[in-house]
Amino acid sequence: MFGVIASMVDGLLLGAVYGLAAIGLTLIWGVMNIINLTHGALIALGMFGVYFLTARVGGSPYVALLPVAVLGFVAGLAIYGLSVHRVIARPPLMSLLSTFAVNMVIIGAGTAFWSTSIYNLPFSVPGITWQGFTFTGAHMLAAAVAVVVAGALYLFMRHTRLGKAIRAVANNRQAAELMGIPSGRILAVAFALGVALAAVAGGLIATLFPFTVLSGSGYQLKSFVVTVLGGLGNPAGALVGGLLLGLIEGGVTPFIAVSWTPVIEFVLFVLILIAFPKGLFARGAAR
């Protein structure tokens, strides 16, 4: 029994990070209807960013998250200008492919520079032990940071001019332009914000697990699942979706072999997509 509870608590802690990883993806989807296939690669870059900042410059990995977020934002602007801006109005295949191409470049360059060896952030935070099960400090801190960042994003979107502009553009680009909102610039900012969030999520994951340059793709797939659970294009839903996914993982693993978890996840993913394409918590009308 304790085992099940411990496993579910672990799942929730990790789920918050999944949620954060997915927010960037779903934000970009919500604002410009693009599935960003560089997402996984950018998560990986976030991991390496935190790793090198901590290993070379020193200091806490949590402090390193800040410069990583800034770098992520800048990288996001560059990727937007280079590969996204020209394909926004075109069929989905084009944006899928242009972002996938950038993904290939990043992964290819990353492999050339860092090989696909495993990297480990030599870092640990004392945790809490309960009935023999330990919840590591890193997990708890990561979950906390994830929730704080998600909350900050929520406030930003609701209460700042820029956030409101992004929401306006997401709602109706033409109407927003008529109101004098420069939609091109807003789209770039939204994309960069999504990328920064992916990088931060990657940085947090690096505090939990060793990683390779290829690690991001697994989290990208998980992010798909999370966004579908929470509703594509719905950042608040992503956090809930992440927690839900973590809870599912934590809840089923004590009872079945871990190798069945992905089966459950992806079957659920497809079924939910078919039954509720707008996500479990979607409000409002259909397309």
């Binding site: 304790f2 085992g3 411990a6 496993s7 672990d10 799942g11 990790l14 492999t111 090989s115 696909t116 060896s117 495993i118 480990n120 030599p122 640990s124 945790g127 032990t129 023999g132 099960f133 330990t134 590591t136 890193a138 997990h139 939990l208 697990f209 060793p210 990683f211 390779t212 290829l214 690690s215 697994g218 993982e249 934590g250 693993t253 004590p254 072999a257 871990v258 190798s259 978890t261 992905p262």
Partner: protein
């Protein structure tokens, strides 16, 4: 219109033909072809193996090459990156044999890739020495030219079980291993051994090789009150598992894991590495008396001098593959595949790497019979992490740290 067609045909021929560059080797060289996982999940172990090959080549060439009938043949390598993926392995090995005119082959790293490559080497009757392909199944598919340097999978964790029986017969064992052919075969053998020794197995679970989060598995181990964890897989999953067990304070008395802890890089885990044991094909501290080639200490020193890191067993396996092939060529008195095969079949020798002898019955042809494994454990000495041999008693350099933490 007609012109277009002609142009198209020419373009196709040019493109295809561009790939068929014939490389002609000089008369007095022996070409050895292989693929290396320069990239992808297996690259750490595979590159270590490559270093072993290269050290052997350089030393042999410096000493005047392989001597056959008074003539010295220089060794030339041709290799490609297989990206740790089997999809292009057959293409690359075909190319090695037919275009690069490889005389002999070394295998790629890992059982899966070897099984794929072996179909090509068999087709051409080319001798292929395998290192890093421990799974028995590969040698039971009817191949005739495949020779295994490593002790087969069943030997890997049997020693750990024997050691447990001796140290702590009531310890509860959790078998947790990567869901790949090699690791599964090893775990199955370990489980059978545990049954023989009536050691209690409280958990038996495989995880996907790409797993990055072992939290749920570790919780299960703790929930099952396991004292000992035996299993693992390859380098990435092994290091992750080790670190998370440490972070989650899993109360293990003994952990023995495949492959990962053998790598010198494992020390980067710091305290999380302490106490972890690994079944090893070879350790620098072993004391075999070689019939030919360097002794273990010399090999270790030379390797350290060339690459600046300590030799692990993958590197030793690579060097040993070269050495055994060299001896067989010398004995066969030429490059004839059948004669070299016969010489390899007849091999029964001790080198720095230990005893080497291949099965010759058709059902298990090429399976390694002679070689013994050792068990090594990471221990802390004067604040430094060192890997000590703890089993068998005859070869040990330190006592087993038990319980490990």
């Amino acid at each position: 219109m007609k012109r277009l067609w002609t142009a198209l045909a020419f373009a196709i021929i040019a493109l295809v033909g561009g790939g068929t560059r014939q490389t002609v080797a000089a008369a007095d060289t022996i070409t050895i072809g292989f693929t290396v996982s320069e990239t992808g999940a297996l690259n750490v172990d595979s590159l270590a193996q490559l270093h072993g090959f290269e050290l052997w080549r350089d030393q042999v060439n410096a000493a005047g090459g392989i001597k056959v009938g008074g003539k010295g043949y220089q060794i030339r390598f041709v290799s490609y990156d297989d990206q740790s993926r089997p999809d292009r392995v057959q293409q690359l090995y075909s190319r090695l044999i037919t275009q690069d005119n490889a005389d002999f082959l070394f295998s790629p790293y890992s059982s899966n890739l070897v099984a794929t490559a072996a179909i090509i080497s068999e087709q051409y009757g080319k001798v292929m020495l395998t290192t890093g392909a421990a799974e028995e199944k590969t040698y039971q598919l009817g191949n005739k030219y495949l020779f295994q340097l490593y002790s087969p999978a069943k030997d890997y964790l049997a020693a750990a079980m024997d050691l447990m029986k001796k140290k702590d017969p009531t310890a509860k064992v959790a078998l947790v291993y990567s869901d790949d052919g090699f690791s599964k075969a090893v775990a199955a053998a370990a489980k059978a051994r545990a049954k023989e020794l009536s050691q209690e197995v409280v958990m038996d679970e495989a995880y996907a090789p790409s797993t990055t989060d072992f939290g749920p598995i570790i919780n299960k181990m703790i929930g099952a009150h396991a004292d000992v964890m035996i299993g693992g897989g390859h380098y990435p999953d092994g290091t992750t598992l080790a670190r998370q067990m440490f972070d989650q304070k899993a109360p293990m008395k003994f952990v023995c894991m495949l492959v990962a802890p053998d790598s010198p890089q494992f020390a980067s885990l710091g305290d999380a590495a302490v106490g972890l044991a690994v079944p090893s094909q070879w350790e620098p501290s072993v004391t075999y008396k070689p019939q030919f080639g360097p002794d273990p200490a010399t090999f270790g020193r030379d390797f350290q001098a060339k690459y600046g890191i300590e030799a692990g067993y993958h590197a030793a396996g690579g060097y040993a593959a070269g050495l055994i092939l060299q001896q067989a060529i010398a004995k066969a008195g030429g490059l004839d595949q059948e004669k070299v095969t016969a010489a390899l079949n007849a091999t029964d020798a001790t080198i720095f790497y230990g005893h080497v002898k291949f099965a010759t019955d058709p059902q298990n042809h090429g399976l390694q019979l002679g070689h013994d494994m050792v068990l090594a454990q990471w221990q802390k000495k004067n604040g430094q992490l060192v890997k000590e041999v703890v089993w068998p008693d005859a070869a040990k350099t330190a006592d087993l740290l038990y319980p490990m933490r």
